[in-house]
Symmetry: C2
């Protein structure tokens, strides 16, 4: 589902699927969502949805199929290690309806890391790649991730996931980057809600977000203006600043 | 969809829906997923799925309806402030097919916080509650969340969300708590993958997870055993320890 921006520049969308009981139980606090979100934004890919599911085959297969058909790319993290609870490759193969053979190059990679008996059946699990898939190299711990269709399967350990994302990024089609500028309101969110809404209405092609925060001067608001066109961003930021000046005057009355 | 555990004790399931462009752009790093996951696990509610969606009405409505019909409870965070991008109440009302009137008690609460002109149209937005909904009090910043049906709508700011969760928790039906014990393997994950899988097969009613980590002694593995019955947990942990002792002997040969 490729979308076109107003000036014909492609918008590239993505989803992230985080796989693992340990995230849903709270034992492990996810660090991959925030990292991936920021990374993709910076290269011109719009992360549109994230899901976290348990190590349950039917849930993973359903989520993979729902997300890969809705967005340009799907990234997954977790579940590609050597133990019985690592079932991501099996689930992705099932979602695509393909076999899951040992991948010769993946086997070679692990043979270089583990000699003889160390390359046991458990570690060999990590060389099973869905038919038609290509490897995503892993400079950190060796065992590769993979790409099949528009789905990229990455490790769950943040340092490994990050190395894999570096391998994947140059291969992605990217869109016009979303530009962003933050304006400090020096006003409480509720004081500017009305006029800010008017500015947002006047710039339907610009996304304007309002985020309250508290610092040592008290409650305040950060207004984040986002647009793909530099001139539209500047115009909307100017309108926000003008609105804020008016609010400041009325608050001082 | 209420599920029964082997001994007839109800298992209570939940999903979390995180709403907000700022999470998907990476500007704000979510802290509510990990907190809610740990909190619910501790009170005997199984968090089964998390989704993060943007401030887009159709996406929020679709996610609310998908998740509230699949799990006992749905919790949402974000999008209940006073600005134009706060559309969660509107979307939940739409998902339930009900109106979104000003809630008299919510109005009273905000009247006590804001006098006269300060209770403007923007702040009044925060008193709109879907018809049939009840308030979730907010001791931190005043503006309430709400419950309608099996859906709990909370703020996105972590300190406010956490206060709301404290209000909600005593009203929840809870199941038998999932018990958990971690065993330090003192072995690499790939060395124990085979025999650990055998233990997992022997305890189909117990969840056994394997999580690699690295400390100053090198690569290691944490094995997390989870069960609702104390005796099943103990039996599975004993089997894991016995397995590990065997692996240690074979590795030293």
């Amino acid at each position: 589902m490729q979308q076109e921006s107003p000036k014909g520049q492609a918008i590239i969308t993505a989803a992230l699927l985080v796989i693992g009981d340990e995230i849903l139980s709270g034992r492990t606090k996810d660090k991959n969502i925030g990292y991936t979100a920021e990374y993709l934004t910076n290269i011109g890919v719009d992360l549109r949805e994230v899901r976290v599911v348990a190590d349950i085959e039917e849930e993973i297969v359903a989520a993979v199929n729902a997300l890969r058909s809705k967005y340009n790319y799907l990234f997954t993290t977790g579940g590609i290690g050597p133990t019985h609870d690592d079932i991501t490759a099996d689930c992705v193969a099932k979602a695509f309806g393909v076999a899951l053979p040992y991948h010769p190059e993946a086997v070679d990679i692990l043979k270089k890391r583990f000699n003889g008996a160390d390359l046991n059946e458990a570690r060999m699990r990590m060389t099973r790649i869905p038919e038609g898939g290509t490897l995503v190299y892993n400079k950190v711990s060796g065992a590769p991730g993979f790409r099949i269709g528009n789905v990229f399967v990455m490790a769950g350990i943040p340092v490994v996931m990050q190395a894999m994302l570096d391998e994947i990024a140059p291969t992605l089609q990217t869109g016009k980057k979303m530009l962003s500028e933050s304006v400090r309101a020096d006003a409480r969110e509720g004081d500017i809600g009305g006029p800010l809404g008017e500015v947002a209405k006047a710039f339907p092609d610009v996304t304007i977000g309002s985020y309250p925060f508290i610092d040592d001067k008290g409650p305040n608001t950060s207004i984040v203006v986002r647009a793909r066109e530099e001139e539209r961003l500047s115009a909307a930021v100017a309108a926000v600043r003008e609105m804020l000046a008016g609010v400041q005057v009325s608050l001082q009355k």
